[in-house]
């Protein structure tokens, strides 16, 4: 296991670029020594200043709720056997041989406990830390991360690819992914299915017939027409419109933005490796987007709640779900590593809950929130670990309950966000951004971050 490099120990760790930047500090009367001291102090506390910190996150959304004893927490009541991984002492289901070779990059949490076991409520709970309700629509994890860390560049920072919940992406689900009361600018950009031939991002492509001169012409007209009104009114909103307009134009004309969404620039080999289906291409696009500067991408290729195996659980897992996940996840981890992105890109693999330890009459497993598992890796997370444990049937948490608030706190800490923060809801109620069971504040998992 690699030694984490996030604490500055001595001056020789300082890179040349740092020194150049720091050099200007002497004008302010701060010496290099003092700067390094402060820097180390900040880094040790995990708040702003640590050099190795998550910059982006890919959420591999296993919509429907994956069966945990058949995946990351193998137990006797699973039809599948456990296999060893490349980390001594950690075993996962035999359905994931390729992922097993990347265990050193991943942490498994086997004692997740949430409180909702219906899809809309569970999705909302797992992505925001709260049940859906008229009194409180809490912002989604991705929205909060984007708000607290700020944009990396002009790319849309929060993306869903493709639109989740294929059967009805109605408000009950939408809200789980949305910014809600922190403002529409933190809503995700929803992309269509990238595995389709006609994949194209609407609104990001100017009509082919438009030249830049035509755009300029139009904008001149606009300034003429707007002048009359501008003189009459001067709302704060207009300032926002100006800013949004400028940002939009920047997005449209920046080659970086277009490239980030352009899958044709990936090699055929890469596309094959990830998998030519919706799952594979979504994750590939997600990798591309974080590489291009997105902050939080949810790859929801399993839309249609494919992991919701109420019948024929074993068959579907073995034939359809596990092969795609095993392939895509392992390729993603390898790809991120090779591109030097793994240290700065957090990877979260989870669904809205787990599945019942008992198999039902249709050979399936039903929803289960009392005890389930998820994977975390990259972004400074110390891999090759298991956190918590379930009992002999994975029915109850045996050791170390991890709530969604704890998960969020861990993720926020990886990003250098203050996980103790509260937001004031519209009715004036302060709510933790890492909200644990009983409205307590979630705690980051010390072993991981």
């Amino acid at each position: 296991m690699e030694k984490p490099r996030y604490a500055r120990c001595n001056e020789s760790d300082v890179t040349r670029r740092e020194v150049l930047r720091v050099g200007s500090l002497s004008l302010l009367g701060i010496s290099l020594g003092q700067y390094l001291q402060v820097s180390k102090a900040l880094a040790d506390n995990g708040l702003a200043g640590g050099p190795v910190k998550a910059q982006a996150c890919i959420l591999l959304w296993l919509e429907g709720g994956p069966s945990h004893m058949d995946t990351w927490d193998p137990k006797p009541n699973s039809a599948f056997k456990p296999i060893s991984t490349n980390v001594d002492g950690i075993q996962i289901s035999e359905l994931f041989p390729r992922v097993a070779r990347h265990m050193d990059k991943l942490a498994v949490i086997r004692s997740v406990r949430t409180e909702e076991d219906n899809h809309p409520q569970g999705t909302c709970y797992t992505l925001t830390g709260h049940r859906p309700g008229a009194a409180l629509k809490f912002p989604s994890l991705g929205s909060i991360i984007c708000k607290e860390t700020g944009p990396r560049n002009e790319l849309p920072q929060y993306v869903l690819v493709p639109q989740p919940c294929e059967h009805a992406f109605t408000s009950a689900f939408q809200d789980a992914f949305s910014a809600n009361f922190i403002g529409g600018e933190y809503n995700p950009m929803v992309l269509p299915d990238p595995s389709q031939d006609d994949f194209r991002v609407a609104d990001l492509t100017l009509p082919k017939s438009m030249s830049f001169e035509q755009i300029a012409n139009r904008r001149t007209c606009l300034s003429v027409v707007d002048r009359f009104y501008r003189e009459k009114e001067n709302l704060a909103e207009f300032g926002l419109m100006d800013a949004s307009s400028r940002q939009a134009l920047a997005m449209l004309t920046s080659p970086g933005v277009k490239n980030a969404f352009d899958l044709s620039q990936e090699t055929e080999k890469t596309k094959d490796a990830y998998g030519r289906d919706r799952v594979g291409q979504s994750v590939l696009l997600a990798r591309r987007l974080v590489e291009g500067g997105c902050r939080f991408v949810t790859a929801s290729g399993y839309r249609g709640a494919e992991w919701d195996t109420h019948g024929n659980n074993d068959k579907i897992l073995r034939e359809t779900l596990a092969p795609t996940l095993d392939r895509t996840l392992s390729v993603l981890l390898e790809d991120l590593k090779q591109r030097g992105l793994l240290e700065t890109t957090l990877v979260v693999v989870m669904g809205e809950f787990g599945r019942t330890p008992d198999v039902n009459a249709a050979g399936g497993r039903d929803h289960y929130a009392k005890c389930w598992s998820l994977l975390l890796g990259g972004g400074g997370i110390r891999g090759g670990q298991v956190i918590g444990a379930s009992d002999e049937r994975a029915a109850n948490v045996a050791d170390r309950t991890v709530s969604i608030g704890d998960l969020f706190a861990t993720i926020y800490k990886a990003f250098g966000i203050d996980y103790t923060k509260t937001y004031m809801s519209p009715v004036g109620r302060p709510v933790y951004i890492a909200n644990s069971i009983g409205d307590e504040q979630g705690q980051p998992i010390q072993e991981l971050v």
Partner: protein, 843 residues
């Protein structure tokens, strides 16, 4: 004293005397010796009070009317005397404290002006019997023990819970005497309770030691050992900590709080003392100014200290929330910029709406803008009544029409138009949530939609509509409201929604605990929820209230787990005979003319559509800590609405006929920053569907909307407009980007301008493709060979209901005449028009 020429000098001398006596407050609103000379009249408040009891006291305020029209608090400059000083004393806070029974005059004098009032003293040797609720409760409130961020918070603090604002004294008594820890979802205790009093060693009671700082207290020091409040509590514990109802009589309770003045107007240096009167259940009044707590809703506008002295900070308007024992009151405060010496005479009121609006503007020294121009009015009223822009020809005709009554006539035409029905069916569709269900019942959805539309078209009385919805039984279209959609609708969720829609009350917070901002208790919430407890499950086709023998399920209190009986908000439970007709019983209560919420909630919401904000905002959040900007107007509108038989169209007509609605959007110096008093028209962004239809109309290209697969796929029939759509049946990227409510929950206002919208404007198909489409307006204009003037006029009239200005004509001519393509140039102008702020906003 007469107004001798030396009055100014004498006044100044008095000012010095007052300073010397130390009875002058510092920094009074009026600088001594200056404005005093402009004092015209004086009065004392309260008038003719009766002080009862051994400890009775009353604070007084001396109000002076000045030449500039403003009434100011001049207590600090007044000399106060009693005609019979043996009966009472006066202190430096203008507080009269009783000594003996009798009556005398209190006289105030400022400069050359004098005022007096008769004060009665009774029962000076008697005290009210002790009442924990009143006497201890008021200490807990005044000392801040039971605020929402301390022990009054939902779970209490550090294991000690009090009710917010001493609203539930019996519970408070229990928590103090017995101890215990409040848990949200259960009444079980996980550890032995710790009483807050110690009867054997009263001084070691936690309820004394903690606030006195004798033991560590997270809330800091709240009481001084030996202070009046400390001694009161100590004496109470020493006496065995009674509740105060020993002789079986109900304790004399405080039934209400009144603040004076209810509307404070301050100049920029202004200060005003608030007076708070408690109305007791025995019919008496008591001055509780000293026992109340005061908070300003916006300290940037005005602040208030612990004694109730309000001080201006900067121009604006806010409210002071006053909490006394178990009650809340509020006073609105407006800080005006400068009193205006020559306030223009009112141009005349069209109806009572104007009277109230302009009276308040006068009081606050805000000058309303003039009447809107015809073009401004035309666009505004068409959009507000029908959500549809008029064609260029009709616009031109209206602008040119010399008839002085043309606005009224236009209003009638619009109210009678089919587009009025379309538009308001859309708005009520949002409110009543006409949407597709997870059970894919298209026919039912359309039945529901038709029912809503029908109510509007026939202008059915709104109370009838409401009752039909709340109490619906059977198979019909209206039952489709009770969907089992992806967010499962439990009885409490349904009730909370109906309360918001029809009563303007947000009770949801009280689902899990007593409401933090209002006196709604969790019990009241569940009492209401119980009305929906016997409905057939919402995913069945037949909706009705099952007879109790059959129902087999109950609504249970989440903490005590006991079954809850249906009860109205005022506490009355439902008689046995009505128990099989629960929802109709509730519906009748909710919509009756005597119900205090229904009419107000409805008129407030409708008002909000026309002015961008309700008289109470948010429109469904009426509570005492969120007072209306125009309380009398709200009451008048509600009364009018009830008298006219809950007629929605008549209400709308009354609003749009008013001058207040028809004001121009141009601001003047006095109303530039006013966003809440209707002193001018404020721009409001067009709703997504209205914007969509407007773009279609201007570009001359109809939009073709998708039909979801559930509805058969394909497209909507030709002629379908955006306001006809049911959101989940016809999804639309444009409308999602521009914030169309998806009706899965009640509509929330969408105010953010997002990058997504800007992107769509620049590159989205709606904006770019429709402009250039063949057969569209641009295409037609170019092909017809129209000249620049004709083109510009048609486009401007279509989009903005006005003709282009000289500047616009000149500049745009240059663009139109550019090489190479005239079509592209016209497209550029059309694009600019539909992307402009003026287009996207209703103003």
């Amino acid at each position: 004293m007469n107004r001798a020429p030396g009055a100014r000098w004498i006044a100044f001398l008095f000012g010095l005397l007052l300073t010397a006596n130390g009875s002058m407050r510092d920094g009074g609103a009026v600088a001594a010796g200056e404005l005093i000379s402009e004092l015209q009249a004086l009065r004392l408040v309260p008038e003719h009070p009766t002080l009862w009891g051994a400890k009775a006291s009353q604070r007084f305020v001396v109000l002076g009317t000045f030449a500039d029209g403003l009434e100011r608090d001049v207590t600090a400059h007044a000399v106060l005397t009693l005609s019979d000083p043996t009966l009472a004393t006066i202190d430096s806070g203008a507080r009269v404290t009783v000594r003996a029974d009798g009556a005398c005059d209190l006289i105030a004098q400022v400069g050359g002006c004098k005022a007096s009032t008769r004060v009665q003293f009774e029962g000076s040797s008697q005290t009210l019997p002790f009442s924990f609720a009143r006497d201890i409760g008021q200490i807990l409130t005044k000392r801040g023990c039971n605020t929402s961020d301390c022990h009054g918070s939902v779970k209490g603090q550090k294991g000690f819970k009090l009710s917010l604002n001493a609203s539930y004294p019996q519970e408070d008594y229990k928590w103090i005497i017995e101890g215990g820890v409040y848990k949200v979802l259960t009444t079980e205790q996980s550890e032995p309770p710790k009483p807050r009093i110690n009867k054997e060693q009263p001084e070691e009671s936690l309820i004394l030691q903690k606030p006195a700082g004798v033991v560590p207290h997270g809330g800091g020091k709240r009481l001084d050992v030996g202070s009046m409040d400390y001694r009161t509590i100590l004496a109470w514990v020493q006496n065995g900590a009674p509740y105060g109802e020993d002789d079986g009589k109900a304790p004399i309770a405080i039934e209400g709080l009144k603040a004076f003045p209810p509307d404070v107007v301050l100049d920029p240096q202004g200060k005003h003392q608030l007076l708070v009167t408690a109305l007791l259940s025995n019919g008496r009044n008591e001055d509780v100014t000293d026992q109340a707590t005061y908070t300003s809703n916006n300290v940037e506008v005005a602040k208030v200290n612990g004694d109730g002295m309000v001080e201006a900070v900067s121009t604006g308007e806010t409210a002071i929330v006053i909490r006394g024992v178990g009650r809340v009151a509020s006073a609105r405060v407006g800080v005006i910029a400068q009193p205006i010496p020559n306030y223009p005479a009112s141009p005349g009121s069209r109806n009572f709406v104007d009277e109230h609006v302009f009276a308040k503007l006068r009081k606050f020294n805000i000058v309303p803008s003039g009447l809107s121009g015809d073009a401004e009015f035309l666009r505004r009223v068409c959009l507000d009544l029908t959500g549809t822009l008029p064609s260029p020809n009709r616009a031109r005709a209206f602008l040119a029409d010399p008839d002085p009554d043309k606005r009224d006539k236009l209003i009638e035409i619009l109210l009678a138009s089919p587009e009025y029905v379309d538009f308001w069916a859309y708005r009520f569709g949002d409110l009543f949530r006409v949407h597709f269900t997870a059970r894919q019942d298209l026919r039912g959805t359309h039945q529901y939609k038709d029912w809503v539309r029908n109510r509007i078209a026939l202008n059915k009385p709104y109370d009838q509509t409401a009752r039909e919805l709340i109490a619906v039984q059977g198979w019909g279209g209206t039952t489709q409201h009770y969907y089992r959609v992806t967010s499962l609708m439990t009885p409490q969720e349904i009730m909370a929604e109906q309360m918001r829609v029809f009563q303007g009350l947000r009770l949801e917070c009280a689902q899990c605990h007593n409401h933090p901002f209002e006196a709604w208790s969790q019990d009241q919430f569940w009492g209401l929820a119980a009305f929906f407890g016997r409905m057939t499950p919402v995913n069945s086709y037949l909706i009705l209230d099952l007879p109790s023998a059959v129902a087999g399920k109950t609504v249970n209190h989440p903490r005590t787990k006991a079954e809850v009986q249906p009860a109205f908000l005022d506490g009355t439970t439902v008689p046995e005979s009505k128990l099989d007709d629960l929802r109709m019983t509730l519906a009748r209560w909710m919509t009756s003319a005597e119900n205090p919420y229904f009419a107000r909630a409805t008129v407030n919401r409708i008002w909000g559509y026309f002015f961008g904000r309700g008289i109470v905002e948010p429109v469904d959040d009426m509570r005492s800590t969120n007072p209306p900007t125009h309380p009398k107007l709200l009451d008048a509108l509600a009364r009018h609405f009830v008298e006219r038989g809950f007629d929605i169209k008549d209400l709308i007509r009354t609003i749009v006929q008013s001058r207040a609605y028809q004001l121009s959007g141009e601001f003047n110096e006095t109303n530039r920053k006013d966003l809440i008093n209707c002193s001018r028209s404020l721009p409001r962004m067009l709703e997504a569907v209205v914007l969509m239809d407007a773009i279609s109309v201007v570009t001359g290209v109809e939009e073709v909307f998708e039909l979801d697969n559930f509805a058969g796929g394909g497209s909507t029939p030709p002629g379908t407009r955006a306001i006809d759509l049911i959101p989940d049946i016809s999804p639309s990227n444009f409308m999602d980007v521009f914030g169309r409510p998806n009706r899965q929950a009640l509509p929330e206002p969408v105010n953010d301008v997002t990058v997504g919208q800007a992107l769509h404007m620049l590159a989205g198909s709606t904006y770019t493709e429709k402009i250039s489409m063949e057969g569209g307006r641009v295409d037609r204009l170019v092909k017809s060979g129209a000249n620049n003037r004709e083109i510009l006029e048609e486009l401007f009239l279509a989009a903005l209901c006005r003709l282009p200005t000289e500047y616009e004509r000149t500049e745009l001519d240059k663009i139109l005449d550019k090489d190479p393509s005239r079509k592209e140039n016209v497209e550029a102008v059309a694009w600019a028009l539909i992307s402009s702020r003026e287009f996207a906003y209703n103003h």
